[in-house]
Every structure is written in structure tokens, then in C-alpha cells.
Amino acid sequence: MYELIVVGGGPAGLAAACAAWDAGLRSILIVERDRELGGILNQCIHNGFGLTWFKEELTGPEYAHRFVELLSRTGVEVRTDTMVLDVTADLSVHMTGPETGYRVERAKSVILAMGCRERTRGAIGIPGTRPAGVYTAGAAQRYVNIEGWLPGKRVVILGSGDIGLIMARRMTLEGAKVLACVEVMPYSGGLTRNIVQCLEDFGIPLYLSHTVTQIRGRDRVSEVVVSRVDENRRPIPGTEMVFSCDTLLLSVGLIPENELSERAGVTIDPRTKGPAVYENMETSVPGIFSCGNVTHVHDLVDFVSAESRRAGEAAANFVLKGPAAGEAVELLNGPGVSYTVPQRVRPGNVEKALNVFFRVNRIFGKSQIVVSRGDRELCRFKRDRLAPGEMESVTVPVKLLEGGPEPVAIAVKEAE
């Protein structure tokens, strides 16, 4: 029996395993479905990773490599080319791989770190034909950066999520012509730095409040139709623009991959589409923790590493010291907030202060983030600008959260 099995060897799983080792666990297994550790970072060959965590600018593979190095100095066991098929509530982990074989391993704790997947054409229901040439941005990134093949030469990108923006630049550098990036919302879903460095620097137009309303072409995409949308995101007839292209890339959102979590009986938060977690990243099932994009979709891997260390330490505490106790306080979305992680806090289990991640539900200018309990304000934080595409966090002194089970709400108030 392992003290800890980590499902997934991407940035979340790597940081969690290292932290659990540092915290004293000595029998840890990472199970990774790909042939190498590092997860999606391996195909993210652009820079911009690590500014917060390592205080320097790294590429995705470099960032992953730092953790693989750290891991190699521990006794953590790794099985690559091995996929976990099932995690049961009694912490049996079913896995399969050509070398691993099919086997079931028991564990005292499990960390879920499976990451996320991309929303597809079917999820957003773009009408039209079904030719070759419609790819999610991440699949295109894999073709270009791992397989060494350019999927198309004249490209329209739907969605201004970060992967789409990165791929606009990447495809351009490879000699493709990126005609437009089209975003249904009135603001971009990506980081500001990516809008500037990946679109503006290359003269690629960004059409806000627009969407793709039709795909044309029998064998290969030949045209896409783009329409302006009204405030309810409905296409406005008469605003159609036709782009002649051979490729449509979709960067229309990421969904945490929680099929394993659900099978294990873990409660999923409909807001994050990931496990609802306590302050230490523990899920509703004792001994199962979750971190990284399987919990909620992050913009920056640095925050994944931070959160995952928390999960790794907590798993070690669970195994070495026993379950965390104490009454939980629920964190609620106040006006302007679309989710918080963690969703529940046991103040007795927090040392000094609690770091709460959250996203806002629209663009805000100069604002105050207000933490309150009922009518009572606990604390507030100033921000110059808030956007749904950029994850926010506040650090709340744990003292303020003590004193009974009454829920605490986080809200945004824009300055008048």
C-alpha cells in the first residue's frame, strides 16, 4: 500500500508529490498517462512561465523540468505511459499501461491532478458542415509543437482564451496567416499580456462581441461566417462577415476533467466544475485531495504549483497525523464573484491566513473586494482592475473567519 498516489504528472501532480515528500511521506507514486512527466507544459514551448514561482521567465518544458529535477532528488516512484481508469472511495486505484500492466494499487491518500480538457465545437454548437480543419487550440498546439506539423495555412480563431492567443502567434511564426480572433464576449478571456504580445504585435484583429455562425466547406474548411452578437450573445442578422480560410481553431474554454473524481464519489462544484475543496484542497471524500486545473482552471502555472503544494502537504498531514478536524465555514459568491476556491474553510486548520482564489463575472474598474459575514464586513482589498480572464486572490486573516459556522461572502464593489 502507498501512502499517496498522485493521479497525473503535470505541474499540479509534480508539485503535490514534491511537497508530500518534503512533508515526510516516503511511499509516493505518480501515475502519468503520457510518455513523459510535465503534462500540457510540454507542448507550451512559449515563455512567460515561472515569473511568480521561480522569479524568472521560463518556457513550459523548462518549468516542468525544474519540478522533474526536484522530484528526481526524492524517492517518489513514477509510472509513465500509465492511465488511471478508476479511483474508488476506499482509495483503490485501477491503472493500466503497456509496462505497468493492469493493476490495482491501494493508497492511504490520493491526489487528483488530472488537469482539464478543451470545450469543443459540439459544446458550443457551431452550425455548418463538418469538414477537416476544425481543431481545438490545444490540439493544434500539439500538432505544431510536438508532432511538427502545421494543421492549416489560413486561420480564424474563435475565442480569446490564452491557448487561442498563443496559437495565433505560433501559427503566424510558422508562416500561417491568422485572419482574425473572434470573441463572443465584449472582453477577452485571456491575459492582457497575451492580447498584446500575440495579437497586437502581429496586427491580428480581435473582434469582440462576435462569433462564428457557420462553417462551410465539404472536405476542408473553405469559409467561416462571423457575425456580431447582441448583449444576450445572439447573432445579429445582417452583420455577417465571410472569411476565406482552411482552418478554424477553437479556444472556447476549458473544463476540469473530473470523470474519475465523480466515480470516486467526490462532490463537484457546478461553478468551478471541479471538486469542492476545503482550505487544504481536501475533497468531500476523506483522504482524496485535488489541485491544479482539475479543481478550477488557472491562468498561470505558478498558482497551480502553490495550490498543489498545499494539497501535497495536506495529504502528508492526513496520512501522518490523521484527518483534519473542525467545523467548516462556507465561502459564498457575493455580487460580482463567480466562484471561490476553497469553497469551505475549517479555520482551526489554517495557520495564520487563508489565500482564497476567485474569479469575477465581468470587467471591473477601480474596485474594492469586500469580505463579509452577514451584514458585518470582515475586511476589504483594493484593486485597479478586475477581469474574468484573470484569476484573483485575497489573503484573509484566519481570525476573521473564526466564530461559528455562519457563511462568509466575497463580493466586488466598483468605485463610483
Binding site: R33, R117, T120, T136, Y143, L150, E174, Q214
Partner: protein
């Protein structure tokens, strides 16, 4: 000279080829695309109808009921996913209750077993997600769901295993009467045969006109669908129809054998190969489906598609010989998939009447099995991976499809040549990520096994190239 050439390898052509392959005959199957089961067969409701819809006394009525029985037996024998889940037709008004009584009456006349009228409450007791507005339902226990492309593939593979020759990418361009038989011109050269079977689906009108005087028009009708994630797969347990109208059987809500929920279709006049979905069509389908099952969560949609049916405006299939030795299996609209094996059986009978000599083979191979890793017990998985490690490597994570299964399908009698061809055989890419993760790996496997450059791998039909060119520095000549 072949004995029989069959034009088209959808469900009807494949079933006919399989029935003929029981006999000592030289058979050639011509298919215009690079794979079988890629026309109407792959894009429909995936329902095996019980047989209460067709007008009593028609060929359609007889072949539907017989086909329903045969599909069940054949799917069992050939390892095709099949679930006898039954169906309900819903009535929302007194007028529609009258329609249910008519359908019951037709069903009884057509010999459909087990039909039963349910009250709204009885229907909801069986299907709790049905709308409160449902007043009554017609229950048909013999309706079933199936994997349509796998059924067609199983029929075609059986024909090929028993000696039939399948020519892919062989679009028929002309047919000439020559002495005792016909010369069929195709994109892959000429084929001579004593008998010709026209199973060309939406093109059956055009093929008919090559050999006989014009006598009917195919007026294709396009139906659009939603396919929803497995999270919605148990929303209903049986096939939920609305009352049929002149346009078709209406919008249905049904589980699929793969565990998803299928919703559709509408019915719009279309061109023969126009498989485009439309915003209006999809909105209509959604709105109609919610009348039956208000709780469907359409945010769980993973795919939309459209299929074209070979309607003729008549209420029967057009089966017969318009020229000596030339058999039309035309106008095979719904319930064509269900009827296919019965049409195949009937086609043999009609060809015999035209003079085709039938002598049974001593040995007819009627077996088919494939490994479905996902459905195996832990012990069986362990044993399989030990024997062949390729079964340990999961390529499609959403559907748990292993490399071993993909390699095995490449060694079947009709191996796939495209990413979607692999999908139709082993389900890789059929799940919630729609191939986002596994398509690059399937491209890699196809490229390796077929000895093709990744740039030559197609998504589905010939010409549907996935990749444009190698990245900078990747070209051999730089």
C-alpha cells in the same frame, strides 16, 4: 464476370452482400467513399423501429417487422452493440391520442408484438423525466437501439470474409447493358456482372436512371441532431418519440448504445449530400425535444450532426427490377436501417426470381468478435495486457480505447483508412473531448501502420486532409 455487383455499401448494400455471400456467387461491392457505412447509415437516429409506423400491407411494414427480428439476431451473432430498450410514442392532446390508437391498430396488423397503450402517469412511472403534459403513450417493447455503423460494418465484413470483393473509392459513373449482363463504369475501372443491385441510398435515383427509364425522384430530407455527453445518457431509458407527422417520425430523445443521449431530427428538404447543420434546425430540435423531456441539459452537448434520408414522397420502399437483372433497393428512408437485413433477404429472393442460381456454400463464416477493453473485468484486462502490452496503452481517454484495439481494427477484413474510420470501429474520439486528445495519436498510429506521412492522413473521406505541412525546419529538404 461477376455474378452480382452491389452498388453502395451502406446498411442495405452490406446486408444484401452478406445474404448473397451465403451462396456460391462471385460478388463485387462498389462504394464511392473510402469506407463503408458513411452515408445515411452513419448519420441517423440509431433506432431499430418496432414496426407500427408503416401502412399495413406495404413492403415497408413487412420488412420493418422482419428486419427488427433479424437485427436482434444478427447483432447478437456478430457482436454489434444492441439494446432492446423499447420505445414510447407520446401524445399531448386528444387528437394525438387518436393517432396512438391508429398506430396501435397498424402495429397489430403489421404483427408487432407486445404493443400497449399507457396513460400519462403509467408512462411517467417508467420514464420519470417525461413532461407533465404527456397524456398517453404507445409502448413498443421490441424497439431497440443499435450502433448503426458497426452493424453495417459487421454485415460488410461478413460478406468480405465469405468471399465478396469490396472496391472502395469506386463511384459509379455509368451502367451499360451488355449481352446477358451489365458493364458498370466506376472511378476504379469497369466491372462486369450478370446482375446489378442498386443500393446507392440518396443516389439510388441517379443510379436507377443509368440503367432504366426514369420513374422516381429521390427528394432527400435532412435531419439534424444533438449528441449529448454520457452525463445525460440516463436521462431516459427508452426511445421517446413524438407523434409522427407527414414529414417524419418527429423529434425523438433516446439513449445510445454508447451511453450518450441522442436528440433529433428535424426534416428539411436538402441536396443529396448536404450534411450541414443550421442554427434554425438545431433550435427547432431543441425546442421540440424539451416538450417531451423538459430536463435535458443541452449544455452537455458534445456534437451536432446531420444526415440525409432517401425520401421519395411515397409511403413504401421502391424495391423491384425496372430492367432485366437490375434490382432497385431504392427510396430506403426510415425505417431503412431496421429493415436492412430483411431487404437483403428479400433481394436474394427477387434475384432468384430473375434467374440467379443459388447454391448454398458448405461453410459460411457468420462470426465476429472484437475486444472492448472498457467492458472487460479487471482480471480479463490484466490477462489481456500481459499477453499483448498494446492493450495496456489507452489512446482515447474519454472512451477508454486502447492501442491494441486500434491495431486490431487495422487487421480486420475492412481496415480503416481515416481517423473517423478508426472512430467508427473502436469508438476512439467519440467521447466528450471529441478527439481533442486522441486524434493526434490516432494520426500517428495510422501513419505508422499504413506507411503514410501524417500529411496524407485524412479525417474521414478521401481529400479531408488533417495537416497542411511540416513545421519550419521539419522539411527534409531544408
Amino acid at each position: 464476370m461477376a455474378d452480382v455487383v452491389i452498388i453502395g455499401c451502406g446498411a442495405v448494400g452490406a446486408a444484401t452482400a452478406m445474404e448473397l455471400s451465403r451462396y456460391k456467387l462471385e460478388l463485387v461491392i462498389l462504394e464511392r467513399e473510402n469506407d463503408v457505412a458513411v452515408g445515411t447509415t452513419k448519420a441517423n437516429s440509431a433506432i431499430l423501429h418496432a414496426g407500427y409506423d408503416p401502412r399495413p400491407g406495404t413492403l415497408m411494414a413487412r420488412l420493418n417487422v422482419r428486419g427488427s427480428e433479424l437485427c436482434r439476431a444478427y447483432c447478437h451473432a456478430l457482436d454489434v452493440p444492441y439494446r432492446g430498450c423499447g420505445s414510447m410514442v407520446l401524445a399531448f392532446s386528444e387528437e394525438e391520442r387518436e393517432t396512438l390508437r391508429e398506430l396501435l391498430d397498424r402495429g397489430v396488423k403489421n404483427g408487432v408484438p407486445g404493443l400497449e397503450l399507457l396513460t400519462g402517469d403509467q408512462a411517467r412511472a417508467r420514464e420519470p423525466e417525461l413532461a407533465d403534459t404527456v397524456q398517453a403513450a404507445l409502448w413498443a417493447p421490441t424497439a431497440a437501439i443499435v450502433s448503426p455503423w458497426e452493424m453495417c460494418l459487421a454485415f460488410a465484413e461478413t460478406a468480405v470474409k465469405n468471399g465478396a470483393q469490396l472496391r472502395l473509392n469506386a463511384c459509379v459513373t455509368g451502367i451499360e447493358r451488355r449481352g446477358e449482363g451489365y458493364t458498370v463504369h466506376t472511378a476504379q475501372g469497369d466491372v462486369e456482372a450478370r446482375y446489378v443491385v442498386n443500393a446507392a441510398g440518396v443516389d439510388s435515383g441517379a443510379v436507377h436512371d443509368m440503367a432504366a427509364p426514369h420513374s422516381f425522384d429521390i427528394t432527400p430530407s435532412r435531419g439534424e441532431y444533438y449528441l449529448l455527453d454520457k452525463a445525460e445518457g440516463a436521462r431516459v431509458n427508452t426511445v421517446i418519440f413524438q407523434c409522427p407527422t407527414k414529414l417524419g417520425k418527429g423529434v425523438l430523445v433516446s439513449p445510445t448504445v454508447h451511453g450518450n443521449l441522442i436528440v433529433g431530427p428535424n426534416a428539411e428538404p436538402s441536396e443529396p449530400h448536404d450534411e450541414a447543420t443550421t442554427a434554425g434546425g438545431l433550435a427547432f430540435v431543441k425546442e421540440r425535444a424539451l416538450l417531451s423531456v423538459p430536463g435535458i441539459d443541452f449544455s452537455k452537448s458534445i456534437r451536432n450532426f446531420a444526415g440525409v434520408r432517401a425520401n421519395t414522397g411515397r409511403d413504401d420502399f421502391l424495391i423491384g427490377c425496372p430492367a432485366p437483372g437490375f434490382l432497385d433497393l431504392a427510396g430506403i428512408c426510415s425505417p431503412g436501417l431496421t429493415s436492412a437485413p430483411a431487404i437483403g433477404e428479400y433481394a436474394v429472393e427477387l434475384l432468384a426470381r430473375e434467374g440467379l442460381a443459388l447454391e448454398k456454400k458448405e461453410h459460411f463464416d457468420f462470426s465476429r468478435r472484437r475486444v472492448r477493453f472498457k467492458e472487460l473485468s479487471p482480471e480479463a484486462r490484466e490477462e489481456l495486457v500481459r499477453r499483448d502490452p498494446a492493450y495496456g496503452r489507452v489512446i482515447c481517454r474519454c472512451e477508454t480505447v486502447t492501442e491494441g484495439e486500434i491495431l486490431a481494427c487495422l487487421r480486420t477484413p475492412i481496415p480503416p483508412v481515416s481517423v473517423d474510420g478508426v472512430k467508427r470501429r473502436v469508438n476512439a474520439g467519440m467521447g466528450r473531448c471529441q478527439g481533442g486528445f486522441c486524434a493526434p495519436r490516432v494520426v500517428e498510429i495510422l501513419s505508422r501502420e499504413l506507411h503514410l506521412s501524417p500529411g496524407e492522413i485524412v479525417k474521414d473521406r478521401a481529400g479531408m486532409k488533417m495537416l497542411a505541412r511540416e513545421t519550419k525546419g521539419g522539411e527534409a529538404d531544408v
